[in-house]
Symmetry: C2
Subunit: 192 residues, 2 copies
């Protein structure tokens, strides 16, 4: 299984690393997670520089493609060259986004007639509606093979969906339980 996380400059650290870290907890020698970008490395809003593992067009041959979030999405959603790399297939692939990464799904025409969530702002709502989405302010919204998550820590639901679908519910539970606050585990309040 090949999982890709699409990254760009001016990304939000926690949005990227909650996906990256959880997806890397799957124990399967054929499971490979890659950070994809249009440069050799990308820099987050707080100045953290991260090396990429591959080019954007590798997303097209991935089993799952997740779009990161951050201020940089406001530039990338209008970047025709960036968008032209993607020829995603919602039948064969899982496709998802955290927070403002949904703007990129919208720009790629993947949210038409679909429910979607994102970071709750009037600006984002307007953009998503103009791309044909019905915006619902929930932590996680899944419609068939396309899913969106709202606010950084909901990245666990997005990563969990990918893991459960491609590696099974046991791997998902193991990954999510290994990062959940200990009180949630102790009290069995954790709903996964």
């Amino acid at each position: 299984m090949k999982i890709s996380i699409v990254t760009f400059d001016d990304f939000t650290d926690l949005d990227l690393f909650i996906l990256w870290d959880l997806l890397n907890r799957v124990e399967d020698s054929n499971w490979r997670v890659k950070l994809l970008g249009d440069k050799e490395s990308h820099v987050s809003t707080t100045g953290i520089e991260i090396k990429m593992h591959g080019q954007l067009d590798e997303a097209n041959s991935s089993d799952a493609v997740l779009f990161c979030s951050g201020k940089g999405t406001r530039k990338k959603m209008f970047d025709e060259k960036f968008l032209s790399f993607f020829h995603l297939d919602e039948i064969k692939q899982l496709i998802g986004a955290i927070d403002s990464g949904a703007l990129l799904l919208g720009a790629l025409g993947l949210l038409k007639g679909r429910r979607a969530t994102s970071y709750p702002s009037a600006e984002i709502k307007q953009y998503l509606e103009s791309s044909g989405a019905e915006v619902v302010w929930k932590s996680f919204v899944q419609e068939n093979h396309i899913a969106t998550a709202a606010q950084c820590l909901s990245g666990q639901y997005l990563a969990g969906w990918v893991i459960e679908t491609l590696a099974g519910v046991e791997q998902k539970n193991k990954a999510l339980q290994s990062v959940a606050p200990l009180d949630d585990i102790n009290s069995k309040l954790l709903s996964i």
Copy 2:
């Protein structure tokens, strides 16, 4: 205010970035968060290389010092050169650790006679007890100026404690609410 996060090779991505991201959400021009290490950059267990912002001894002049977690702690807790950089003052400074970072607090003699939490394993419990700690399996344990948190997502409580203590409860609430899953905000289940 100067906040330091102590990092090392073989760290856990999410442990570092939940602290780093949340602490950087404080809106105050005098608030500065730095990653400190004993090399120019450190590499996580999953292979992510991160540049450091300063040397370990800068921790001694910081208002808060938080120790990251990961497999690398098992080496660093016995690394006399690494440990010798730290002359922390639990009266003047806030001192904390996420997950196995508690092993480093223990090695520095900071947990003697104190309650502490960590990633729940028999190995860690044994080490912490041998350093004089009373191990309690809770998400977050604070004793005066020393705090420990258990499992990655409890990093929000550790970062929240530093933000509330040094920048006030409003800044803490703002930071934590900006990353909490949207359903928790909507249902007002969020207890911060």
